[in-house]
């Protein structure tokens, strides 16, 4: 007969272990639910770079020159313009508000790329790419497709919001760089860095 102050210990230890296993299951399940959406037809894992911190999830997925060129020509962008953009080191870029604290806001004009041995430089925005296209060179449909497929320069993302679009870094094929990005949430500016991003090789 088991008696005394330790009589219930084995029973409660068993319950404790089962409870912890259950908790672990909940954690694993919830973590899986919280995964951000993946882009269609994702490129090989080695061609994606991600960062998740302080409420922002960001992913860069490398796009091949031919892939970008075909997309733009399909929208009606003349081959020469399409080639110019496609060869400028293009990434499908996705941002998502993963914060529980409210809205996040980004401005691509504040972002920089860092190349070893060189001073940090700014990123050519959607507006600058559109300005660089000669007036009259693009039809209305081509202009719309070209402009709206690029990442918006500024955006405020509320909880659950996400945004995506192409970003082009004007670097030679195969270049390696670090992306220095920033965003604001709850009145604070946060800074992040994605290291060792590599442009597509020339086709």
């Amino acid at each position: 007969v088991i008696s005394g102050p330790r009589a219930g210990a084995p029973f409660f230890n068993l319950i404790l272990v089962r409870l912890l296993i259950f908790c672990l299951g909940v954690v694993v399940n919830q973590a899986a639910v919280a995964q951000p959406p993946q882009p269609d037809n994702p490129p090989p894992a080695s061609a994606k770079w991600e960062s998740a911190r302080d409420g922002l999830w960001i992913q860069l997925a490398r796009l091949g020159n031919d892939q970008v060129k075909a997309f733009l020509v399909g929208r009606g962008v003349p081959l020469e313009s399409a080639q110019r953009f496609a060869s400028a080191c293009v990434f499908a870029t996705v941002l998502r508000n993963a914060s529980s604290r409210g809205a996040i806001a980004y401005d691509v004009r504040d972002w920089r790329i860092n190349i070893p041995g060189m001073a940090p430089r700014s990123i050519k925005t959607r507006e600058k790419w559109m300005k660089a296209s000669t007036t009259g060179e693009l039809t209305q449909a081509a202009r719309m497709g070209f402009e709206w497929s690029q990442l918006p320069t500024t955006q405020t993302l509320e909880k659950e919001d996400s945004m995506q679009g192409m970003t082009a870094y004007e670097l030679p094929p195969g270049s390696r760089f670090d992306l220095l990005f920033s965003w604001r949430t709850a009145g604070r500016t946060h800074h992040g860095k994605i290291q060792g991003v590599r442009c597509a090789q020339a086709d």
């Binding site: 404790l16 409870l19 912890l20 908790c23 959406p37 998502r96 449909a141 497709g145």
Partner: protein, 179 residues
Amino acid sequence: VRKPINRFFVALAGCVLAAWMLAGHADAPQLLTPVNEKPRAPDLTMENVDGGNVRLASLHGKVVLVNFWATWCAPCRREMPAMERLNRIMKDKPFAIVAINAGEGVDEVFSFRGSVDPMPTFQLLLDPKGDAMAAFEVKGLPTTFILNRQGQIVYRAVGGRKFDDPRIIATLQALADAP
């Protein structure tokens, strides 16, 4: 006997706390962002791919989901079937969906519609110059606005959504049932 019971309750409390915290972060209920100012939606007239024009103001009296999209936009394509399912769920309510295409032609939109399952039966409108996107101050695709029955913008969603999510349906039904 007190010691094991204490450990049991401490573990239980920890478990409850962990589940609550994770639920708060991973399964946030706010799928549409309220627009507190409730501005009046722009009154625009756009071409319908099925012919004729549609004036947004003619939909006053209904809750209207205004979705900006393009056939080449992956999250836009993904949310189309759920929008049609929502349309069917809301068929007995004063509710309408207008999906405004960014800069593409009738042929592209028409052939895309045929590829969606279930096929959209809501109105697909054309915005060839981006005038509607400018009027609604859209910055990227997809972006969606919910108008109440008075034609005011009351919710916004930037990026893709699963529009047949029960929480979104409940929000829209409440709006449709409001006077």
